[in-house]
Amino acid sequence: MKRGLYFKLAFTNIRKNRNAFFPFLLSAIVMVAMFYMLLSIAGQSDGLYYGAEYMSQILGFGVWVAGIISVIIIFYTNSFLMKQRTRELGLYNVLGMEKKHIAKVITWEITIVAIGGVVVGLILGIIFSRLLFLVLIRMIGLEAKFDFFVSPHAVTITVLVFAVVFAAAVLQNLFKAAWLKPVDLMRETNAGEREPKAKWLFAFLGVIALGIGYEIAITTKNPLNVMGLFFVAVILVIIGTYFLFVAGSIVLLKMLKKNRKFYYHKTHFVTVSGMMYRMKQNAMGLASICILVTMVIVVLSTTVSLYVGIDDEHRYRYPKDVSVKVNCEGKTLQESEETAKQLKDVTEELAQKRDVSIKSIETYFDYEVVLLRSEGNNYQSEEDDDDYTANDILAFGVMLLPEYNEMTGGSLTQGGDVPLLLTNEEAEIDGDSMEVDGVKIRFQNEGAIDEKLTNNLYPAAVLLLSDYNEMAELCQKLSERIERNRGTLSPQFCQKYNFDLDGKWEDKEAYGKQIKKFLKKKGIENICLVEDYYSSWQESIGLYASVLFIGIFIGSLFLVATVLIIYYKQISEGYGDQRNFQIMSKIGLANREISHIINSQIRMVFLLPIIMAVMHICFAFPIIKNIMSMLNLTNTKLFLGCTAGTVLVFLVIYMLVYKITSRIYYQIVGRR
């Protein structure tokens, strides 16, 4: 009987406070559903195809992130709800309810939300997980039938995780209720408002942190530490954002207030002073919205462009459909040419079998080694534990001049008897000679390497020799020295045989899968490497599709968090402003004028975070572009387009949220 009473009371409370509880329930449902879906899809995707474990791993990582975000959202919402209701609970206490009874009511309330959220969330999750799984499969390019599937494992974990989270939320509330005296319970929401002080120091620090963060984002080009610096920049920008919202906004408003011409103006007057209090209470919320919005946009734009640009990325990794590398150390030119002929015959033979044709063959001799600058033009071969910066690295290649000309369509000629040296933008090699592990190489500096052969991320140089024997001799000498000095496996002087395929996709894929074995079977010796575009395509698309998938998931969760914060901010501000606007209407302000003022105030509060977020995105663009090019996405236009698109879509969603939540705000403010 008694038990029923508390349950009933809790239920009525939820109904009465539905403005606050309903979004809590809704977000709980969304989070449970998403968590379950990710978990179940991660479980299903393992073993889908060769290389699917990557995808499963990425999805599993996504489950973690989703879980953490959900916990944060639930705790945020829960503490907001408690804060809103302290008065109500205080009243219960004063009216004679003991704290343990209040505790029961609170516990029931959260339990109802938890049960509702988990049950409905699981049902939706089960319905949509299969659908989403099919979407994912489609994105990868595989076929699958729609059938109903419930993952007991995922259900169990979801229920357990959210049970623990909600239990913790209940504890948080009980702790808070037990700690407060009835007087405090009654007082908390109308605690006296003081005009905030201008914290110049923090505002200044905020500007500095933001400035340094932006500076890092714009200037960092060095690919080795770009990731590390990116995180430094992110943290600086986050700190800067919080400081600016918390302290900078108030400093700015104080300055506006000091300017009497500006301040004593019909709309500015109420807005500036209202904003001052609003910023005091909501600066943290606004800064969080700004950070979340930035994250949503970054996550979505990067993952979308990685997925959309998959052709580019995969092609960048595999410039030719098939690439064969044969060691030709100790071979004469004749022997090497013989090998090339053999390769041609064997690859053609398989091509006929697989019903594809071979085109744009490219064959050349090649020697590649990564060097480190010891001083000036002196270089050593790389060693793993060396402490170096990206500028000291040199990707050093040796090629034959005629073959280089053929590949690039250039017409370089050797002036004297010294070979030509080409470098990219990053490399700084002056003079006319260099040393590599003690081997002196003389050269004539001849300008830039052709764009096709360098990515401009690391310093690179190519030495162009005119004669096979000369190249063989130099490479042998270098390899010997490297092996002796370092004891590591030396790079190999080898012959590359690359070509593209024409034909149906399945045939090309089959060709790619068989070529390595076929070459061995036909007795080609010393093969170091066989790579093809097609057999790893599935792996690549699986990777990028799951990255996008996770991106959308996490982006949506961030979005849920953003919307919730905005919503609750509007509600609490609505209650806060209710009295102010009643007063203004009493002393003769027409409703129309009041809405005008409210509008300009709400709009400003709403636009601030997103304007700041867009600014963050603009400054972050160069460094993210840099990171993307390390992930083989070099198509800046594509990335720019995806970012702009994401920002636009997000703006539309944001405006919708604005419309909906400000309506609730008006309802509260207008209530008499």
């Binding site: 005009e195 004593y264 019909k266 007057f269 007063i583 203004m584 003769g588 302000l589 027409a590 129309r592």
Partner: protein, 254 residues
Amino acid sequence: MTLLDVRNVKKVYTTRFGGNKVEALRNITFSVEQGEYLAIMGESGSGKTTLLNVLASIDKPTDGSIQLNGKEISQIRDGELAKFRREHLGFVFQDFNLLDSFSLGDNICLPLVLAGEKYDTIAPKLQKVAKYVHIEQLLNKYPYEVSGGQKQRAAVCRAIITEPELILADEPTGALDSKSTTDLLDAFENIHQSGQSIVMVTHSTAAAARAGRVLFIKDGEIYHQIYRGDMTNDMMYKKISDTLTLLLSQGGEA
């Protein structure tokens, strides 16, 4: 010269369920002269707050006419009511109704700023009204930093800064201690002496004793009125208490 002319005003409320009609004001007729200080007294539920709301154009009378300076209030369109209130009336409320986010000075300036006046013209007016009620030193303080009496005096300043034809005060001393009440009533007297017309609804005999005339309302009708004539505040006080006692005893009989 008649400033406010109230004729045969009725106000009937219909309860939400059952359609019972409650007559809050039955047949109120009185007028306020230019520069007069009128107090309206009555018990709780006698209709005095309804009367004030009707005078303030916050509520519309069911019947009858109210003219301010010859202009019929009930004829003013809803869209212009707010402007009318802002330009012609000044309000003082029991619970001050100051905005916490403004200093006292800014609270006082609020109506003028909202009316679009420039700071240069506002500033001298602010100094002038602050002097009347002796809060010149408090203009930069915030409502939470000052006492109730000081808040109420600021509210009075806010009411008079627009130089309204009429000040309507609703239980202005209701939330104040006796010292603050005296200060506030002094302030009212001060502004009254400068020529300001005031209508004050009050419970407090002390407050009413400062007025030039006191109207007593009972059950929605004007029951009695007292003119000060040559009476001192003390004599006025005595007379009002006697009337109230009479009012109470007759109310008991009825």
